[in-house]
Amino acid sequence: MIVRIVEDPIEEAEVIATVDRPEHGASLVFRGVVRDHHEGRAVSHIEYHCYRGMAEKELRAVAEAVAARHGISALAVVHRIGEVRVGEASLLVAASAPHRQPVFDAVLEIVDELKRRVPIWKKEYGPDGSHWVEGVRPEAGPGDAGKFPEAGCR
């Protein structure tokens, strides 16, 4: 399993290739991409900030909990930080399994859960200046990972 936070453009083909398995017939890739507008404002780029050590741990905890829940072993989650321009990927989640259902479920849950608890913040830039995007208050405690103690294994 690959879980990474990177500053440079995500090496998408390389990351996706890590979930290829000859015995897996279902492979799914989610790309979170910076869009050119948000709440009626034009956006040129987003600057992602994070609490690096904790963000890496939380991202890994989310990925491991979801992977354990769906029996997924081929999984990659990469979040880019720093400046990301319109059309570029800020997030890549790739998973594969013998059949499709668990990969659809797992990929969606990873994206939802990381948005709820991984300490990453985005600041949007556009012709009208910059502003922080309103976020979600994380719940204290181990979150999803606590419900699936087996997910703690590396």
Binding site: G32, Y48, H49, C50, Y51, G53, M54, A55, K57, H79, S90, L91, V111, L114, K115, R116, R117, V118, P119, I120, W121, K122, K123, W132, V133, E134, G135, V136, R137, P138, E139, A140, G141, P142, G143
Partner: protein, 75 residues
């Protein structure tokens, strides 16, 4: 302190001495004293100690790194 909170405070870190047995919640008035503009945002933060989310009644140890985590917006 991170993201919008660091911008508002104009700083990102501080060292604060507290008596033994202090809890995370005891930091709040000290931080508000230090950085008055944060008062409004304080109600919506989560707390982390040594890179793990904790509740406000978590008891602090010498040398702990406490982080104020404003609402997150990754993805």
């Amino acid at each position: 302190m991170f993201g919008p909170m660091a911008d508002e405070a104009g700083a990102s870190t501080a060292e604060i001495d507290l008596p033994p047995g202090s809890r995370v919640m005891d930091l709040r008035p000290r931080l508000e004293e230090l950085w008055a503009p944060l008062r409004a945002a304080m109600g919506s933060v989560a707390w982390a100690v040594n890179e793990e989310y904790v509740l406000a009644d978590h008891v602090l140890e010498e040398g702990d790194e406490v982080a104020l985590i404003p609402p997150v917006s990754g993805g």
